[in-house]
Symmetry: C2
Subunit: 160 residues, 2 copies
DNA sequence: AATGAAAGTCGTCGGTT
DNA sequence: AACCGACGACTTTCATT
């Protein structure tokens, strides 16, 4: 067998993030459209100082993006589905690739356990479900759940 | 048994969203900090017109927020865990409540199937896992997976 | 429903502490 | 690392179409 060296992702390095950075991150997680001036008022810093810090957080990869959150139902996607996949042997890559190619899938993760993939998708109707699942069944066993409610809707990381 | 009337959430109503709105939503999903002026340039509309439309999308609940996305690992949460819960009888409410109360949990959903809750959390170390799972085990059976990678990192709803 | 113009606010840059 | 001041850009409001 080939000598496969495993290269772990760079281990966790606590970039030097201070309490002020955490406050800025908390504010921006709650409202990404706050002006730099308003952020400055909230943390008692001038706008240029805030701009510097935010730019540093972006460039160091702490902030990875700013996104409007939309309600899929309001946009004609009333059905949200979570699918777990237990892959057949040697089909891991194919499942990753398929997930990337199906636009209705808004996230897919690889994890430990038998069902080592899961993905979430938003559909215009339940009719859309079967043809999508049929894309995956050749390469693994799927378990599908319709999402009803969100006891905890997506919320920010607590940074206190 | 009491007469329990089930009130469904208001059925999906296609709010009048036109192609221009969808373009604005696509832009704001990709970059929530775009200025109204820049949005206007991209969709060939004046800044006040964009401001009107965006405000309408916010007030009608299509846009539910603007959030900075952060990398949990860069902030000292190198462990991401997905937990499914198969509740014991009559313990559904208690599980919802617990999920709300554990700050490391960043989302929790109720769904169809035997494991009818799932939640995701970010931890500073695997040591944190056991005490959190122990909060839930009195009320249901948990299945835990460590998340490795994201074949599809969170991405916007396709609105074409 | 969108535009153009005006007033106030904001982002950015250079220089300073 | 943060502040200040200045200029250009942006946001917001209002009158107009």
């Amino acid at each position: 067998m080939a000598n496969r060296r495993i290269r772990p992702e760079r281990a966790y390095e606590p970039k030097d993030i201070d309490a002020l950075d955490l406050r800025l991150l908390t504010e921006l997680q709650a409202d990404a459209r706050l002006s730099l001036a308003e952020l400055g008022r909230r943390v008692a810093l001038s706008a240029p100082a805030v701009a510097d810090r935010v730019q540093r957080l972006e460039e160091s990869g702490v902030i990875t993006g700013y996104h409007a959150e939309v309600d899929p139902r309001a946009l004609g996607f009333p059905v949200t589905v979570m699918v777990r996949v237990r892959p057949a042997v040697r089909e891991l890559q194919r499942i990753s690739k398929l997930a990337q190619e199906v636009p209705q899938i808004v996230e897919c993760y690889r994890m430990t356990g038998e069902d080592c993939f899961y993905f979430t998708m938003h559909l215009r109707a339940v009719d859309e479900l079967e043809p999508i699942l049929d894309l995956f069944t050749p390469y693994g066993q799927t378990t599908t759940s319709l999402i009803h409610t969100a006891p905890v809707p997506r919320r920010p990381l607590p940074l206190d």
